[in-house]
Symmetry: C2
Subunit: 205 residues, 2 copies
Amino acid sequence: MTDLILHEYARSGNCYKIRLTAAHLGIALQRREYDIMQGETRTPAFLASVSANGRIPVLQIGDFFLPESNAACVYLARESALVPDDALDFADMLRWMFWEQYNHETCVAVLRFWRGFVGEANLTDLQRAQLPGKVEAAAAALALMEDHLAARAFFVGERFTLADIGLYAYTHVAGEGGIDLSPYPAIVAWLARVAAQPGHVAITA
Amino acid sequence: MTDLILHEYARSGNCYKIRLTAAHLGIALQRREYDIMQGETRTPAFLASVSANGRIPVLQIGDFFLPESNAACVYLARESALVPDDALDFADMLRWMFWEQYNHETCVAVLRFWRGFVGEANLTDLQRAQLPGKVEAAAAALALMEDHLAARAFFVGERFTLADIGLYAYTHVAGEGGIDLSPYPAIVAWLARVAAQPGHVAITA
């Protein structure tokens, strides 16, 4: 099998998605760590050889560099039980993965980064001005997930798929962004179901 | 074939992606228009019956409602020449579609919406404060596309795929957001190649 190298910052939920997918599939990944807090993904060497977009994760597949966490998860999990065969379920899985990147990562993950990694005292004025909007957007995203999960065990087709992995990554550490999950009992129960799946690994693993 | 109904706001590039995909495939779509400038996707009826996320587009497939433009495009184009068979090319296509939603739509499309639809005079103070960052992000996104297209005809695997459709949608109307594309000759040539594909339709069609 082609060598797989994950270029990552291990605390990033986007990187964790790929590790969690690989763990469920029993796929071995080599790991290369870059400290985004020190700008290590914006160096000329990284931009020239890993990704012109200056972001992690990037999954290196032989000599091909694949950015975007969800694209990497689909690549690894193609033809596995984590990806539905049914065309509509497959599209619905992608729907939740796109929704996560646009409506969830941009607030739930950003709050964790700003409050838990950078620290509120170190935010720019513009970032600080955006905080109330991010808190509101996170509450709306979590409310939508809560409603969806109220009558379902998993996000798509009643089975564990990449949609669950993608949404678990930042939801389960939402507390690091100052978000209290206790008003969302269906989410809390779903997080426990995801963590109980055989093959599960923690973000700190 | 199951009835397909596109719930949309026709000027939205995200809605246009789905129409353009359908046009290339010769698939007929019924169309239902909602005026997002009048809040028609945030009414209780829309939230309850079309999408709890309060956004268009939503592709209705029989009695199933599929939000997220790129998920709808993949659903329509599955098993067509617009979607690569090769696993790595398929993942790379998704990579550009995820990149578009996170790094391109959030600045190129937002600038078009703020400047071309809402009007700069009507922006909130917080939106106005974000303008310089959006302009900078748009320039970075376009520079990355320009570099990628310098030696390629299309984004993935040297053929026209959903990655091109997804990126064309807001790039070809970037001027409505005050973005001058003349510094990006490879993008300008690629836009012309996309518009010359058999089956192409305009955003105003």
